[in-house]
Amino acid sequence: MAAAISVTSLCLGAELRFKSGQTWRGELNDTVEVVYNEGGREQRVEGKVVRADSTMVVVETVSAGKTAKKSIFFGDVKSMKSLTAAAKTDSTSTTPATSGAKAEGNGTAGATAGASTPTAPDAKPSDGSFKGVFFLPMEGMVGTGLRHDEIEAIAKEADKAGPGQIIVLEIDSPGGMVLEAQRIHEILKDLKKRHRLVAWIKKAISAAAFTAMHCEEIYFMNLGSLGSMTMFSGMENVAKGESLEAWLALAGEVAKDSGRDPHIARCMIVKDLVCSYDIPEGGGPKDARFREDGKGQFLVDGPDTMLTFTASRALACGFSDGTADTTDELAKLMGLPEWKEYNESGRKIYRDWQALLERGTERMVELMVQLNYKGDTLGEPEKILATKLNIVEELIRWHDRCWSCAIKAQFEMGVGVPPKEYLEQIAKDIKKQIAEIRERNRENARRR
């Protein structure tokens, strides 16, 4: 085995044994000095360790007031020592660390305040303090069924329990709006600093794949698939030039920040790119070294296809941390003593939102169709206009309550709902027409 890592509960102390035989024991957020190979040269970096596991060591450095992250493949690390007093460095011992420094939270593997999690599938909470995970199912298009709002809501719930919670996002989405993906990105980027984020994949295509890749831990269901992130708008206007470059850079950064090779993300965006990998002798999937050509031992993505992972392919190259069809199986893979949910909040957030989305979408479709005929048989123009006004005003209220309903109506039911501003203008015009009719009526009455 190339690396030995153990993460104890609560204290979150980690132990890494490098190829050189040197062992580092410490905790996330320790200040460390890492010596590593890069481009055939020995390099050195000093900073706060924000990730340390059998795949990657990530060190946060501060230079000229700017914070930057340096990701180093585990296999490239020659040595690592902690410069803070709390951690110990041992060149021979392989005994797991038992640091006394406890993080607040519910005590699960790798979860720690202020740092992202090292994923250690065999790590188990040991002191019985595990209170459960925050579980949020997310289903539907990004922008309608899968939104930043629900992630924000579960984050608030998790924050109430203190940092270091586990948030499991169950994703079943065909993708959707880039704008919403950007909002999700901002939230998850922040959220992963204080909680352990886990994605459990039923289906994560396009913007949903991007969402999932923010999580350090990704588990698939057997039927799951993830990938195909080409960005396009309207009638097949594929992002090109600067917008493509920006998308490639962002997706690559997200992948890298979560301990994955950025090239994998790029292969999900550009068809022509190729990706293969090698697994060093005696290594496992997590030791996979990716190449930007097809000359590796195993092919991930050929030149004529867009990369979309299935469960087994993702597992084989270490992209996924395991395959689980049930919550019990997932708990086992996550190193939890059992599947337990902290409370019902995530499921309630999901249920409430899906119910509102369904009701609101159907109502908006109804209203749009009714706009064509409702009130037409009333005879009097003022009554007809008043009926139309009621419909438009209800549409505006639905816009305020559930803007995603308008998007769902358009994309999933083929009924376009005008933007709120446009509806407001229509309402204003109708009111004006009603006022004019009333004025005319008054005028007529006066003349009579």
């Binding site: 039927l223 396009f232 594929v238 084989a316």
Partner: protein, 406 residues
């Protein structure tokens, strides 16, 4: 695997190159080939998803779950939810899924396949995934066997979600080449097409992985341009999308691979061939068994009910177009559509089959109400009977837009 298959494999592995197996005309041909290593291999194949072993009992209780007729309507998750409940009560020793669902008739030379196009399986991957998950997970503690009497088209995808697969001698599976071709036809921009194809393929391959079947096989089943060959390591079959394997299964780049029972068994996709339920039981090692048919009854009743209901919906809908434009006619039309709506809401299969959303009917009813109220007001105001001139129209669809075929 049967003795015949083992013998066949041993024989073939000693035969010279490029010998085409004669029994495979009409499906795929297997040719032996030299085996040369390629640069990059496909990623490792999935481990077959865990399945319970069949019980060691003398006379097992076997619960039969039919999958017959049209995928997406007859074979629909709603009825399986009821069957799952029933099976839980019965507590069988194991379950046999009896699959007979094909887009193309076996007697293709005698029938025009286009004649029954409306009976072709509906490729709704979300529905397939939901159904497979329900059956595999909710009954996951009971051993399961898939017995394919025939599965040509989308249904073969469902069959491949089960690792323990047996086939009748005349059974086929495949016919999935259209899955990707249909996606390609929808998009003109190369990258968008590639994205949609990859997303669809990912979904399909995920279903195959549930049954433990390798990606290379899945890709040959859905991509016309993918070839397929296989090599054997003992009992293990390694499929590959090149012609470097020992056996060339599909060398064509023009059509996706399909299998007949014999070939499927030869390449280890099916575990054996059985023409009757008793044969299947015998093949599984049981001379005696108790066949539980309550699932069959639930299924038959459901199919009969929803199909009868569909005919009623057609009738109600068409009749609603024929009523007059006066008050009485509009009230009749409204009443007919209300009956249609009740049935549409009870059987989602009707909506799937006819492409007639319940919401549309609901809105048609609302529009009729509006017209009825208008006429009543008019009558009240004028004291004369009101109505639309010329009849028809209103919120009602033109006859050509009503329910018919998908």
């Amino acid at each position: 695997m049967t003795l015949r298959t083992r013998l066949a494999r041993t024989m073939r592995s000693t035969l010279p190159l490029t010998l085409v197996a004669p029994a495979l005309v009409g499906a795929v041909s297997i040719t032996l080939s030299a085996n040369a290593p390629a640069l990059a291999s496909p990623a490792p194949v999935p481990t077959p998803s865990e399945d319970k072993a069949l019980p060691l009992v003398a006379k097992p209780k076997v619960y039969v779950i039919p999958m017959k007729g049209q995928l997406g309507t007859d074979i629909h998750v709603d009825i399986y939810k009821k069957i799952i409940e029933d099976a839980r009560k019965v507590k069988p020793d194991f379950i046999v899924f009896d699959m007979d669902s094909s887009d193309l008739p076996k007697s293709m030379l005698l029938e025009d396949p286009g004649d029954r196009r409306e009976e072709w399986g509906i490729m709704d991957y979300d529905h397939i995934r939901t159904m497979v998950r329900a059956l595999r997970e909710d009954l996951g503690d009971v051993p399961q066997v898939m017995w394919v009497e025939d599965a040509f088209g989308a249904s073969s995808l469902v069959a491949l979600a089960w690792p323990n697969l047996y086939m009748a001698n005349q059974a086929r599976f495949g016919g999935l080449g259209g899955a990707i071709a249909n996606i390609k036809a929808r998009y003109s921009q190369e990258d968008v097409e590639a994205k949609m194809v990859a997303a669809t393929a990912g979904g399909i391959l995920g279903i195959l992985e549930k049954g433990g079947y390798p990606t290379a096989l899945g890709e040959a089943l859905i991509y016309p341009e993918q070839v397929l060959s296989a090599s054997f390591e003992g009992r293990k079959v390694n499929f590959r999308n090149d012609l470097e394997g020992q056996w060339l299964i599909d060398t064509s780049k023009d059509h996706a691979v399909s299998f007949r029972a014999t070939t499927a068994e030869d390449v280890g996709l099916s575990d054996g061939n059985a023409d009757t339920f008793s044969d299947l039981m015998f093949l599984l090692g049981y001379r005696e068994f108790e066949q539980i048919d309550s699932g069959q009854k639930l299924f038959d009743d459901y199919v009969q009910d929803w199909r009868r209901a569909m005919e009623k919906v057609r009738e109600y809908y068409n009749d609603s177009q024929e009523t007059g434009g006066d008050l009485k006619g509009l009230q009749q039309a409204k009443s007919l559509l209300e009956k249609a709506l009740t049935l549409l809401e009870r059987y989602p299969a009707i909506e799937m089959r006819l492409g007639l959303p319940a919401l549309k009917v609901k809105l048609d009813i609302d529009r009729l109400k509006e017209e009825i109220n208008g006429i009543k007001r008019q009558e009240k105001e004028t004291g004369r009977p009101g109505g639309r001139s010329g009849g028809g129209g209103g919120g009602r669809s033109a006859p050509g837009n009503g329910p018919g075929s998908r």
